[in-house]
């Protein structure tokens, strides 16, 4: 196949007009609004449904939704999750209904953010949500315990409320 090359005019072949218009364009960009986000001072706006680090959620009554079934612990590919289950105390409001995690640790140095824990959870208690800046000064500080995970997760309203019927 023969490709027809476009016939260039003298101005185009001189190359200078194109260079000058390019220079004018880049010069105009010097005065435009900058897109840089000054990170530690300015934080980006996180859209809803952002897939950040795994966190635990509570329902609107403030109950920990996790029932310590340990499915996430078993499915976790890098074995970042460690759960120690316990039973509710005898006289608690939801006692005898379900278990509760006594300890729930996620080693954020091991977590690979695969989201299997969220996918496998039958109680919709663990989610990959908002927090994106996972930092710590030591290996120990990078193991997030239950309190920290619950604090990061906040509440997620539960429309079914199956616990109230028991």
């Amino acid at each position: 196949m023969k490709l027809e090359r476009p016939k260039l005019t003298l101005a185009e072949r001189l190359y200078l007009p194109a260079i000058l218009s390019g220079l004018a364009l880049t010069f105009s960009h010097i005065f435009r609004k900058k897109v840089t986000l000054q990170y530690p001072e300015e934080k980006p706006e996180i859209p809803p449904g952002y897939r950040g680090q795994p966190v635990l959620v509570k329902d609107e009554e403030g109950r920990v939704k996790c029932v310590a079934c340990q499915l996430c612990e078993f499915v976790c590919p890098p074995r970042a999750i460690t759960i120690k289950p316990m039973e509710y105390p005898e006289n608690a409001k939801y006692g005898k209904v379900e278990k509760i995690p006594a300890e729930f640790d996620i080693d954020m140095l091991r977590c690979i953010y695969c989201g299997y824990c969220e996918e496998v959870c039958p109680e919709q208690a663990i989610f990959l949500r908002g927090p994106y800046s996972v930092t710590g000064l030591s290996r120990k500080a990078m193991v997030f315990n239950k309190e920290k995970l619950l604090e990061l997760g906040g509440t997620l309203p539960d429309p079914i409320k199956k616990w109230q019927k028991k």
Partner: protein, 353 residues
Amino acid sequence: MEAILIHLIKIACVLGVVLFICAYIVLVERRVCAFIQDRLGPNRVGIPLWIRKDGSAITLGGKWALGQPLVDACKSLLKEDFVPAHVNKLYFWLAPMLAMSPALIVFAVIPFGSKLFGESMILADVNVGILFVFAIASFTVYGIMLAGWSSNSKYPFLGGIRSSAQLISYEICLGLSVIPLFMQVESLKLSEVVTWQSNHLWLICYPWNWLPALIFLASSFAETNRLPFDLPEAEQELAGGYNVEYSSMKFAMFFMAEYTSMIAASALMVTLFLGGWSLPFVPATGGVLVGLAHICIFLAKLFALLFFFIWVRWTLPRFRYDQLMGLGWKVFLPLALLNVLIVAGVIILGWVK
């Protein structure tokens, strides 16, 4: 004895100023490139003035990153100076020095001011000024070539080959493009070129000098390995070109060499085409104030041209190798030759007085 002392002070001042500009032009380049790309660029590091008891520091000009060159210099000094086992040690060590020194030596013959305290503001006012510049500037190719060759690996070698071909081709255009100037000025002395321009108009003001100015500018882009002619270090093709195997201060030397030769090329362009230290309505001779004003005028022109260098770098894409050679040999060389004839005709017609 006193003359030697004055000379040494002059040399120290020029070297200091050149290296200072060299350090800060890197910062300017980073800022300007960021602005052109709608970013902000470095804007954190200030010059530390005082460290408080709690460890925080009072800094100057942090918004403009005035301390960035200091930090960069410390970083390159503290990095590991790694020499790969397969290199030719002698030439590997020699190359950064050879790349850096010619660019600095060129400043010896650049007149950066008229007279200050009765001293002419030029380090060495040699009769063959421009020839000296070209003789020294052609040494730069050794630094780059030796770096490419002694590194003993593929990409630096390709970069070295490219640079030797490119620099040698464009030196011819560079030399030919300034011949018409010296036909008009009738001297090779750079100080006389500037005096002529302060008595007449700047050489760029004459229409028959526009073409040589363009060729000189484009060729000096090629000589200093700047975009759009930065083939010796084309990052995307050669992973960095001739300086791939270098690290730490040796790499910084190549980096500084590029910027120093950029400053040298701008200074030369200012001297030859833009009237050096002269400016209309500023007296050519006078007291200390006039002398200082001349130096400031020269520096202002220099900075304007340096900004242009940076501006072009972030506008134009790189030429292909055959395009580069074609432009040098098939376009610039005949045009430069033709221009010698044109200016000869202009002089015969008596348009230049």
